[in-house]
């Protein structure tokens, strides 16, 4: 599953992610991150079965953790099932079913936002 982790000014002072990995022994994949002097966020991918353990290890002052679900919202009425988003997204969030209707697998999204920018019908939006 994907975890959206936000750091406030306290949270960025300390190597929280590294410490949590060491403490829990859980491997995580940092999919995207933006961290500067005052605040920051990171999108982590963690195995479902290890998630609870990792969340416990990461929970400290200055760190807020949220399970990232339904990152992509898809407006069925506006969508024309053109499929342009399929090849734009490098995380394979989109595909066609056997009737050439668009299927969205929101779980894989890393919130880059490209699909929302380039959908010709403006049928996609990304939550963050």
């Amino acid at each position: 599953m994907k975890l959206m982790v936000e750091f406030d000014s306290d949270g960025v002072q300390y190597p929280n992610i590294a410490a949590a990995i060491l403490r829990s022994g859980v491997m995580v994949n940092v999919e995207r991150a933006l961290i500067d002097g005052d605040e920051g966020w990171a999108l982590l991918d963690v195995d479902d079965k290890d998630a609870d353990m990792f969340i416990t290890a990461l929970s400290r002052k200055g760190v807020s953790i949220r399970i990232q679900k339904d990152a992509v919202s898809h407006n069925r009425t506006d969508c024309v099932d053109c499929g342009l988003c399929i090849s734009i997204c490098q995380k394979q969030v989109f595909s066609f079913d056997e009737n050439w209707q668009l299927v969205v697998d929101s779980e894989r999204c890393v919130l880059c936002g490209r699909c929302a920018t380039y959908c010709p019908q403006r049928a996609l939006s990304i939550q963050k």
């Binding site: 024309v80 099932d81 053109c82 499929g83 342009l84 988003c85 399929i86 090849s87 734009i88 490098q90 595909s95 066609f96 009737n99 050439w100 209707q101 490209r114 920018t117 380039y118 010709p120 019908q121 403006r122």
Partner: protein, 502 residues
């Protein structure tokens, strides 16, 4: 064996007509043979639903109490062409709003009208004795117009090139967003369901052919603009009554970074009159070829990367240089099927009848490129051929000296064979001095990804490149990366808007 249009129309009237979609035809012909299929099937329906930029509509507003002969006109702030007397206009799909730019355009005005929304009209005129009024602002809906006739100069491409981008920068095109280094492929068209793919010799489709367009029963006007059926790229000019259209089959769209376009659903029924027509409608995606071309080069004759069939494109990935590249359409196959199915229902229920074309379309015609008679200025006419260079091993201090001596801000870096490998600017050098790094080698501070240009590129393209990258100079190189000269933004004068930063 032959069949006449009258026989088919008789069957439509008595309800015994057999209509199938173009997707079903190959199997029917395999099973029954050509003669059997001709006996059993009367009409094949086709369909396509894709971005058809070359679309628009003629609107007639009727006369106001004090009449006006509108000369300039805006509909929801989108300019419409009013140079066709008094109270008519042509609203083109790609025209962009003066306030919302590419997020709203002619296509959106058309879509809003079809959806029953009210649209604001603003027009200006000089005022004449017979048309005294000089301006008007009003609201109107589709139902209030006398006529709203969609007329699309170029629709239903027979097939279209697929697009990829071989350059190392992402590009925004009418084929959608193309990732750098051929990481995706986009294509358009419904393949075996496409109208013209089922009649490539234009033996049944011509002026007067009844069609489904945007939900209305419309007509083929004739040859489309830019039609090139001799090269496999035929187009049709189509028309239909907007008042009968539905937003299910007309959708405004924006290709980000390119502009406004309109998705149009077009379906053409093909009456099976003889065996040749049956054979054409038995086409499969495997038989339909197109080229994947590189949209990363800015020239008309884009390099062909490889040939593909629609079957390969529809499979979702295609190989380029040994790599599987994801590919996806930008036209909707699901909607194309809906068009073909709706057309089938209309024929079966008798609300759509067949007719022969009244004028044929030349099926051998090949489209010509523009013969540019005006003078085009090329980069090699504007570049400076005296320039200074430096090698990567020399020091930053040496670079500073050379920049001063050459009275330039740009210093191309070359290897031992005089090939371009980087560039340093006065900015890079001063930064290095400020950080006390003047003894470092040039290769440590240089920019490796140099923006270059070919000597035969047109200068206005060079100007756009300078602007896009916000730089002050381009290095002109030949195909083996040898430097031919430098093109400075200040030499291009007005062609470049803001002066480059570096």
């Amino acid at each position: 064996m032959y069949k006449s249009i009258d026989e088919i129309n008789e069957r439509i009237r008595d309800g015994s007509v057999r209509v199938v979609s173009a997707e079903e035809m190959p199997n029917i012909v395999d099973e029954l043979g050509v003669t059997g299929a001709l006996r059993d099937v009367d009409v094949v329906t086709t369909g396509t639903f894709g971005a058809m930029c070359s679309s628009g509509a003629f609107l007639n507003f009727g006369h106001s109490e004090i009449p006006i002969r509108m000369e300039k006109m805006w509909l929801n702030n989108v300019e419409a062409y009013a140079g066709i007397a008094a109270v008519d206009c042509f609203i083109g799909a790609t025209q962009e709003s003066t306030t919302r730019h590419s997020e709203y355009g002619g296509a959106h005005v058309i879509e809003d009208l079809i959806a029953g929304k009210s649209v604001e009209l603003h027009a200006r005129a000089k005022g004449t004795d017979c048309y005294p009024r000089t301006s008007i602002t009003n609201e109107f809906t589709l139902q209030e117009l006398n006529q709203a006739i969609m007329l699309n100069p170029r629709n239903s491409y027979q097939s279209y090139n697929a697009a990829t981008n071989m350059s190392d920068q992402a590009i925004k095109t009418y084929m959608g967003f193309l990732l750098p280094s051929h990481r995706n492929i986009t294509y358009s068209g419904a393949g075996c369901l496409s109208p013209l793919a089922n009649d490539p010799t234009l033996s049944v489709i011509g002026s007067g052919t009844p069609i489904f367009i945007g939900g209305a029963n419309g007509v083929v006007v004739g040859e489309g603009t830019q039609s090139s059926p001799g090269a496999g790229f035929g187009t049709l000019m189509t028309s239909g009554n907007m008042k009968e259209m539905s937003s299910d089959y007309i959708r405004a769209a924006t290709m980000t970074g390119y502009g406004v376009t309109m998705y149009v659903g077009v379906g053409i029924p093909i009456p099976l009159l003889n065996e040749e027509i049956v054979r054409h409608t038995a086409v499969r995606d495997e038989d339909l070829k197109t080229n994947i071309v590189d949209y990363g080069t800015p020239f008309r004759d884009r390099p062909v990367i490889r040939e593909v069939t629609y079957a390969q494109l529809k499979s979702g990935s295609v190989e380029i240089d040994g790599e599987e590249v994801r590919c996806s359409p930008l036209s909707s196959y699901k909607k194309a099927r809906e068009v073909a199915a709706e057309l089938k229902t209309r024929i079966e229920t008798g609300s759509f009848t067949m007719a022969l074309a009244t004028r044929p379309i030349d099926s051998h015609k090949i489209n010509k490129p523009m013969a540019e008679k005006g003078y085009v200025c090329h980069v090699n006419e504007m570049m400076v051929s005296t320039f200074v260079t430096i090698t990567g091993e020399e020091s930053v201090k040496e670079a500073a000296k050379r920049l001063l001596k050459g009275e330039t801000n740009h210093l191309p870096v070359i290897d031992s064979e005089n090939r371009l490998i980087g560039i340093v600017t006065t900015y890079d050098v001063s930064k290095a001095f400020a950080k006390d790094e003047q003894d470092m080698s040039v290769s440590e501070i240089m920019t490796k990804n140099v923006i270059t240009i070919a000597p035969d590129a047109p200068v206005d393209f060079a100007a756009r490149t300078l602007q896009q990258h916000n730089i002050g100079a381009l290095v002109v190189i030949d195909s083996s990366r040898h430097i031919l000269g430098m093109l400075n933004s200040y030499d291009l004068g007005d062609l470049v808007g803001g002066r480059g930063r570096r």
